[in-house]
């Protein structure tokens, strides 16, 4: 058995949405378009398949019904693979899989965000800081001490000045007494403890960053601002430097220092034109101008976000709302 080349006439259908069709296709020549409906708006979506591109992959690999209708626009030649045939081809050319992994992970990230947006704050559960501490408390209460120790240690690693830092430190001391018969002050706890301590694997910059985020969430904006500025000044870790640059702007906004906030975000956009939080930075710029009473300028930032962002992103929704309220 090997993949078959199949001819399709214009206006024919390769498969319908809802079909249980476990085949994977590549377009060799001609024109094929995929029609589906946006799960949020119901709006009809059309996607043209490029020559050489795979389609029907997700539903075949995931063993679920096709999510779109594949319509032939011009006479086309299509190669049809069974899942094992596709797997064989892909394992000889890992780049195919890598490319698909990238596409799928983007789709997954997007749908994940859409779901999170629909869930109310309480359904989303605790904020991570409180959540982590409570896990420690739970294991403490049910006397699973090594697990409790792990959770409290992780808490202190990420949130050394967090809201529960003192309680976590107290609990760790108690737990070390119970597990080892003495607090492990002088010896590194990880040597005696069955729980692997991985605190040292987290880079210094990451630790500082999480600590500053914790300060921010406690609304200690001045302290957070200082911490974020330190991370940027030291510049030890590019990723956390970039993240901190964005957070500095947020601190300035919440400190109602709008002029400096505008200056800061404008500089950030110039320095990091592809920053992960670019759209959010634009949003804060809009908000700053709004606070300063410059509605027209604020509006132009909100419009910019709406012209760039995916319509389902939280920042798009925020910008749309802000723009309406101007």
């Amino acid at each position: 058995m090997s993949p078959k080349a199949v001819q399709y006439k214009a206006n024919s259908i390769i498969y319908f949405k809802g079909d249980l069709n476990d085949k994977i296709f590549i377009l060799k020549s001609g024109r094929v378009c995929l029609k589906s409906n946006d799960i949020e708006t119901g709006q009809e979506l059309q996607e043209m398949i490029q020559t050489g591109e795979f389609f029907g992959v997700k539903s075949a690999l995931g063993k679920y019904p096709k999510e779109e209708t594949a319509l032939v626009l011009q006479d086309s030649q299509v190669v049809v693979f069974t899942v094992p045939e596709f797997e064989q081809l892909a394992s000889q050319n890992t780049r195919i899989i890598m490319k698909m992994l990238k596409v799928f992970s983007n789709q997954l990230r997007r749908i994940h965000k859409q779901v999170q947006n629909l869930l109310s704050a309480e359904d989303q559960g605790e904020n991570p800081e409180t959540g982590l501490f409570k896990i420690g408390e739970h294991y403490f209460n049910v006397k699973k001490f090594p697990q409790a120790l792990y959770a409290f240690r992780r808490y202190l690693t990420y949130y050394p000045s967090g809201a529960y830092a003192e309680a976590a430190a107290r609990n760790i001391e108690q737990l070390e007494m119970r597990i080892q018969g003495h607090p492990a002050r002088s010896t590194p706890a990880s040597t005696a403890s069955p729980v692997r301590s991985r605190g040292e694997e987290l880079s210094e910059a990451a630790k500082k960053y999480y600590n500053a985020v914790s300060l921010f969430s406690q609304q200690k904006y001045n302290n957070a601002l200082n911490e974020f500025r330190n991370i940027v000044t030291q510049g030890a870790d590019e990723e956390y430097t970039a993240k901190s640059v964005y957070e500095i702007g947020r601190c300035l906004y919440y400190l109602q220092n709008y002029d400096e906030c505008i200056k800061h975000f404008t500089a950030m956009i110039q320095k990091y034109p592809k920053h992960q939080e670019l759209l959010d930075a634009l949003y804060y710029l809009g908000k700053c101008y709004e606070k300063k009473g410059e509605k027209k300028r604020a509006g132009s930032f909100y419009n910019k976000i709406m012209s760039m962002g995916p319509t389902d992103s939280p920042v798009y929704i925020k910008a749309k709302k802000a723009s309406r309220n101007l």
């Binding site: 394992s91 992994l101 992970s105 309480e122 959540g131 090594p146």
Partner: protein
């Protein structure tokens, strides 16, 4: 998996029985492929530690971490002595390029996750809370192995908390809806299972409530 993994030995980590591999809510940037031993995935709901899954050699977990440094959504505990390969964004590409079988496995896992999330999205967009709960049963029915297509009745070994989680509502609200269905004789609630008398009736009900 027959592929030679010895070149990836430097990414190997070992956990003793009951060790926490990672903990719910902690920021994550690594994911794992089990080589030997089993891993228990748990969540603490209320005051109860609930087992969500038991994973075996060859299985991947924690994979959402390569997407973003989101907090872990569950705790992973070594069920017995576990040997696993630990991956992060830096070594991920090296591993995948050198090992198409693992890459394929991850690809399949992503297709499943995308489907699950889309399905969850469809449930959550229903405004009618009764329809939401009914749609959770439809979703569970879709993933049941080999159901008898000629039978309308379906049995689910699912707890109220699980259904509430999927429906994005509090367990109390969910209980009310389930009790309402029970008085209508559309479902029967037992200690360890819920019986839906006619799954097609639920399908029609959900369809009528879905915005066109």
């Amino acid at each position: 998996m027959s592929t030679d993994l010895s070149v990836f030995e430097r990414f190997a980590v070992t956990f003793q029985k009951n060790d926490i591999i990672f903990c719910e809510y902690e920021p994550g940037d690594t994911f794992y492929l089990i080589q030997s031993g089993t891993v228990e995935i748990v969540r603490i709901i209320g005051n109860i530690e609930k087992t969500i899954d038991i994973l075996h050699p060859g299985e991947i977990f924690g994979e959402m971490a390569i997407l973003e440094e989101a907090p872990r959504s569950a705790t992973a505990i070594a069920h017995e002595k576990v040997k696993a390969l630990e991956f992060n964004r830096e070594n991920f590409e090296v591993l995948m390029m050198g090992n198409p079988q693992i890459a394929l496995k991850l690809l399949k896992l992503f297709t499943k996750r995308i489907y699950d999330q889309k399905r969850r999205f469809m449930i959550l967009t229903l405004d009618d809370i009764q329809a939401r709960v009914a749609d959770v049963f439809l979703m569970l029915a879709e993933t049941q192995q080999n159901p008898d297509p000629h039978k309308d009745e379906r049995v689910f070994n699912t707890s109220v908390d699980d259904i509430a989680h999927w429906a994005g509502m509090s367990p109390d609200n969910c209980k009310q809806v389930l009790n309402h269905f029970a008085t209508q004789r559309r479902i029967e609630i037992y200690k360890d299972k819920i019986v839906v008398k006619n799954i097609n009736d639920f399908a029609r009900f959900v369809n009528s409530r879905r915005k066109k």
